[in-house]
Amino acid sequence: MTTIRSESNGSSVAPQALEPWKTVKKIVPDEFYTSGHRTCQGCDSALAMRLMIKAAGPRTIVLGSTGCMYVANTTYYSTPWVVPWMHTQLGSSGSAATGTAAGLKALMRKGKMTQEPINVIAVCGDGGGADMGLSAISAALQHTEYNLLILMYDNESYANTDIQVSGSSPYGANSTFTPPGKVHRIMQRHWKKNTAGMLAVGHPECRYVATVSPSYALDMMNKVRRALSIGGPTFIHALDPCPKGWDYDPKYSHELGELSVECGIWPLFEIEDGTLKMSGRTKQILAGTYKRKAVRDYLLRQGRFAHFKEEDIAYFQAKTDEVWEKWLYPGVIPFSAA
């Protein structure tokens, strides 16, 4: 699809050209998010940070909105960040990215700073992104004159404040705000918000939206590299298993990440300039070369679903089947034409 651009606001530095890494062997050894953060054992969101910045490289500024990847990551005395990093407020990832990109652009255009493409990435959790920060992210994705990436690390709860349900939490999940009780077994009754799909559909000038899982590291890193290279505001949604909030042995982080894709709960895709491409396992499921696993295997592995009865598992399976059988595009557009 050809994109017609409107008049741009003055001169602009082209984004960094980050070629995809063909195999894991091509991945650089350099680390820009290093040891010494205070996240949980097996924290997949920490892994998402590490892979993200490894893919982006050293000429990057990262803005971190309030959440686990703020509170558990940086401590006054110390930090795990090698690249420049700055805190932003819970609902401000979109604004932080916009402000940083705008500041750099103005200073470079006006000759107050050396011209150079600097990646700007703002990260937010599902609480900061899918809930509180949605309007600011939406606004950022309309600012086509700025090169920026917003990465939402979705661990399906307000994990930093001790696991409270968010708009991105799955149906029925136990959380400290939705505990199963004697009268109400299911306190979390909504279906997970379709954030990446919503943002892609709602922002036709945003050139790149993708979903990723840190369990598929190469896929994730190449999507980050693509998002940063294409220019303009972009959005990536990562689903990160959370050993604390999902209640499982931390060694299963990787496996549960894979399972989320294999069960069809987390379809992997990318939408570039208006073209949708499914990725990896998701593509195979769609093509019929891989059989979608039952969600049961996924649910029973996590303490947050330990209160589920057979009818809850059946409901979860039926809703997941809908995503694949009724949605116009699985995981992207939740309706079909009449």
Binding site: I61, V71, V83, P84, T88, G99, G103, L107, A139
Partner: protein
């Protein structure tokens, strides 16, 4: 693009400024437009806008200057005040000079961003077009909006005229960006009376402004790949007192920096007056009235009238509320018998049910050995006019307190309210 030159080219030959620099032009402009000129002259890099009356007029002028090519900056229309202030906060962190503004509940919608901007020591200059807080929706001036940030580390200035708005905006950048200070500054302009009223303003040339205002240099705090720092990591109880103390010291140091800035401003531009407060007919005054913003206009008229009647009354206009001009007010008011503080704000449930300025002033005068009585008055809320007659009635109460006729310093009087 040199917008100042372009602007000057359209004008008749400019007069020479006091230093022999290409001089000022005269313009018939509102307070909002004056602040927009200050942004242009300060070569602000990033501006964010969001509509709310009455401050939004400044953005209407900014956007027109940009579209006409008179001003080069990144101009972002945010989707909320919260984003508006978050965006400039982050632009400031990468070294951009920034400007934003708001009014009333819009300012409060941004409150979280306002708090962290001060905590982060980012020298944003913001215009507050003072407006009553909802509900009910109202658009006239009250000062409670800007005053809401008074304890967070914001520098707060109140101005009386469009000229002072322009001048103070330039001073604000210089003070806020000084490495001894590094705090955001809110420039309060009374809604309607200042934001929407046009008067003759001297608009300086860019060369004059450059002489006064050095470029913003964030130095070792710059967020840039060449200076890999971590900004605002989470802290526990082991750290926050030290950090608050740093902010406290930044605010304390602002006193000297403001004084220096006014001295320099007076030198370059030949105007600017005294930092912190303006003293009006205070020599030999027996009582003083105190207030902020455009309230000064009817008060000055009333003071002149009373002086003509032989009544020894003066007026002190507070120009900077933060840092609070404790010493200046002590000096200015130590000799009077009573002070009438006219608040265009309210402090429901506060000591004596007074407004914010009255209580702050009481605290400042308390240590004086011979302290004047303080009469607290609330007037002009919601943009209601304060008339000369109102001020004369206020003065009567203050004279009563001065002569000990009535214990008027134990009450707060609402002036011009229907019973």
């Amino acid at each position: 693009m040199k917008p100042s030159d372009a602007a000057l080219a359209r004008k008749p030959a400019p007069a020479k400024g006091p230093g022999g620099y290409p001089g000022e032009s005269e313009e018939l402009i509102s307070g909002s437009e004056a602040v927009a000129h200050a942004c242009r002259l300060a070569d602000v890099d990033v501006i964010t806008a969001y509509p709310i009356r009455p401050y939004d007029t400044v953005m209407q002028f900014v956007s027109q200057m940009i579209s006409n090519g008179d001003f080069d900056c990144e101009y972002i229309i945010a989707e909320s005040e919260h984003s508006q202030f978050e965006i400039v906060k982050h632009a400031s962190a990468v070294g951009a000079r920034v400007f934003a503004g708001s009014s009333g509940v819009g300012w409060l919608y941004a409150f979280e961003a306002l708090a962290v901007t001060a905590g982060l020591r980012l020298p944003l200059v913001a215009m507050v077009g003072n407006r009553a807080l909802d509900d009910p929706g109202a658009f006239g001036v009250e000062h409670n909006d800007a005053l809401a940030v008074r304890d967070l580390g914001w520098l707060l200035a109140w101005v009386e005229t469009a000229q002072e708005a322009l001048d103070t905006a330039l001073i604000a950048y210089r003070v806020a960006e000084d490495h001894r200070v590094l705090l955001p500054c809110a420039l309060s302009c009374d809604g309607n009376f200042l934001t929407h009223s046009q008067s003759i303003v001297k608009v300086p040339s860019k060369a004059m402004v450059e002489r006064f205002l050095p470029p913003y240099d964030r130095a070792e705090r710059l967020l840039h790949p060449d200076n890999p720092i971590t900004v605002a990591p989470q802290v526990n109880e082991d750290w926050l007192m030290e950090i608050r103390r740093q902010n406290d010291m930044g605010m304390r140091r602002a006193r000297d920096v403001i004084s220096e800035a006014y001295a320099e401003f007076n030198g370059v531009f030949g105007r600017g007056g005294e930092p912190f407060i303006e003293r009006y007919m205070m020599d030999d005054a027996e009582i003083a009235l105190v207030g902020m913003g455009t309230l000064a206009m009817p008060v000055k008229v009333a003071v002149r009238k009373m002086r003509a009647q032989g009544r020894k009354v003066g007026f002190v206009r507070v120009r900077w509320f933060r840092p609070f001009p404790t010493v200046e007010l002590q000096q200015a008011l130590a000799g009077v018998q009573a002070v009438g503080v006219i608040d265009r704000d309210y402090g429901f449930g506060s000591a004596f049910h007074s407004g914010v300025l009255a209580n702050e002033l009481r605290a400042a005068l308390y240590p004086l050995e011979r302290r004047p009585r303080v009469v607290s008055l609330v007037a002009g809320l919601g943009g209601r006019e304060v008339s000369t007659d109102n001020v004369m009635a206020i003065a009567d109460r203050v004279f009563d307190a001065a002569s000990g006729k009535a214990a008027n310093d134990q009450e707060t009087y609402w002036i011009g309210v229907r019973e």
